[in-house]
Structures are given as structure tokens and as C-alpha cells.
Symmetry: C2
Subunit: 225 residues, 2 copies
Amino acid sequence: MTRIHVVESVLKANDAVAAVNRRLLDSSGVLAVNIMSAPGSGKTTLLEKTIPRLAPEKAAVLVGDLQTTRDAERIASVAADTTQINTGTGCHLTATQVAEGLGRVSLANVAYVLIENVGNMVCPAGFDLGEHLRVALLSVAEGDDKVAKYPTLFQQADVVLLTKIDLLGVLDFDVQRVTEDLSRLQTRAPMLRISAKTGEGMDAWVDWLRQQRAQQRDRAAAPSA
Amino acid sequence: MTRIHVVESVLKANDAVAAVNRRLLDSSGVLAVNIMSAPGSGKTTLLEKTIPRLAPEKAAVLVGDLQTTRDAERIASVAADTTQINTGTGCHLTATQVAEGLGRVSLANVAYVLIENVGNMVCPAGFDLGEHLRVALLSVAEGDDKVAKYPTLFQQADVVLLTKIDLLGVLDFDVQRVTEDLSRLQTRAPMLRISAKTGEGMDAWVDWLRQQRAQQRDRAAAPSA
């Protein structure tokens, strides 16, 4: 009983902090995106290739990792602001860690806060960070059964990015199977096929991101009901 | 304070059950192997291709997944006994789940219990299941930075399998970097390069497994100190 109680408290505390994060981001007119996937699906490469395409709008990046600053170092050259959050043995980011990260970001200078979560298809999906949108990556090298096996991550996603599609020719990967598994989840999230390496599909992804930001601005400008 | 106390209790309870599992396996002369990696590194394919090569010795398999029985269905045709353990939202197997799984296995009929953990590079490494050996897989499609970024998994491994090496030609993957990162962890675990698809390296891996089983038998036969 105690154990269940504690887990609930942790989640409630997390959600309270997440709500504060989201209010801060909204009041600053900044769109926050929580990017989640297994290790090695291409989150960091995606950020490296996405941020320059968003110019003149700028992005701050929060990078979650157990240890090392390798991802942050890769992103630092393209982002307006990069903060590494080392989780130690923690398998996901928490809203409190993101709150600490936001404390170091000049929100007036950026249009986006892009959060690269810890590489993990399970735990990050359970924790609201205060983001506006969730992006789930699936690399074609991981196999076409992953949507069925890790449904929570994909069910909550606002967009699914099928990454490393330049490898489709050398792998046994059935895109149709992924599409069918996604439709079973009754998600309305679009699936975009991209290769950060060749650039294929990157325009559609960046357009989608820009569109989400425009919608956020429209919502903010609308008279409240 | 309460939260820390609870986590310790969970780990202590897990370790107690793991110790019982290990004693049971030892008394049955069965070698138990805990196979861990990110989602999509090739754990299931590895099992499908490994078990027939172990004949005439037989293997029982415990498969951990959030949901679906897809992996178990793939393995059922080659294993003497296959048990699916659905963890729901649980991000790793626990010793108690393995104890339940072992309850369905005729240990007298098998030489190996092969445990496919939940696809996750973080959480499984923290939980002893009662296994004798830990195998960590790293697919070359995941990138050559993963040993540095997820050191706990690799530090505890008794063998590291570099999988999908048939893709090395089409990826920017620096094997030397992985070797160096492993040597920094001061692990004595060998790294074996394999492709379950082409069969390359599979003999060395199966030989290693057989050798470990022979050593277990030698230890059991030795007069206790």
C-alpha cells in the first residue's frame, strides 16, 4: 500500500510542476516539444538538422542523458542555448529537471524549447514535462513491431517520425505494418518519414513544427472564452 | 525520506527473490542468462538463431514485454519452453516475475534458461533476476556512442554482442570507439561481433555460451572449500 501511495505522490508532484512549466512557456509564447524514442533512433541528429531550418526563429534545447555531455556538445553549435540534464541512473526526465533547465533559458530570445528525453521507449511516456507536443521517433533499424510493443509512447505522440528511411532498402522493414499498428491505437498523429542523413522528409517535418507554433500563437491571440 | 526508503525495500526484496532463483537454477544445473539491450537491437532474432545451435542441449525462454506475445511466438518454434511475461507499464523484469516464469519450466529438461528482458538500456541493469550471466547487445544501427552514454548496462555485462554487423558498410559506425569506451569501463567482458542475419560470428557466440555452461558444471562438481 505504501508503495502505491508513494508512486502516486511522485506523479502528482511531477504533474504540478509540469503545469507550472507549461504556464511559463505559454506566457512567453514559446512552444515546447518533448522528443522521445529508444536509444539510437536519431533524436540528436534530428535536432542538429532541424534547428538551422527553423531560422530565423531560434530554439533552446534541454538534453536528458544518464551521463556525458556528448549530445549537448553536438547540439550546442546550432541551438541558441543548450542545457544538459544528467539524470544519473534516472530513466526519464522529470518536470522538476525541466523546470531547472528552463531557469537557465532566456525565453524571450527563443521560439522553441526542444527537449531531448532520455533514450527509452517506456518510462518517459509516463511523465508530463510541461511540453505542448510529444514527438515519438522510430528508427527503421529497430524493427517494424515496435508500435505494437510500446503502444503508450506512440499513443500519446502528436507526431510519429519514422527515421533513417535511407536504410529501408537494406532492411526487412514493413512500413505498412507500422501504419496499421498506429491506426489500431486510434491516434490522429501523422507519421512522417524522414532521413536526417539525406534530408528526405525534413521539409515536411519542419513545416509541421512551424504550423504547430503558428497555431499556438493564434490560440494566444484569441479572446478567451 | 519515505521515497528513498521504499526504493531500497523494493530492491532488497528483489535481491532476496533473485538469490532464491539462482539457488534453484544452480541446484538444477541450469545456466540462466539475462539478455538486455535497447528495443530493436535484435534480442529475439538472436534467440531464434542461437537455440537451434545449442542442440542437443535445450533452452527454456522467458520473454519480458510490456504487452503482446509477438516475441514469444517467434521463439516458441525453437525453444523447449517459452513463457511470456507481460510487464504492463513496467520498464524491466523483476526477480519475482522470473520466479513466476521459472515455476512453469521443467528445469530437469533444459540446460539453459534464456531471459529476454524488456527493451530498455537503463532500468533492467538495476535488477538482479537470479541469472548467472548478463549479455548486453548493441546494434550498430544505434550509434557508436551508446557504451559511454549507458555505462551501467555495459559495465555489468559478461559479454557484449555487437549486432547487425552486416549493416556496418552502410552506416557511420566506429567500432574502435566502442572498444575504447568499453576499455574505459574496465570490464573484462569480451565483445563479439555478430550478424544473426548472415550468421557471421554466431559460432563464437555459441561457443562462448557452451563454455560458460561447462564452467558452471565444473564449479558444481568441485569439492566446496
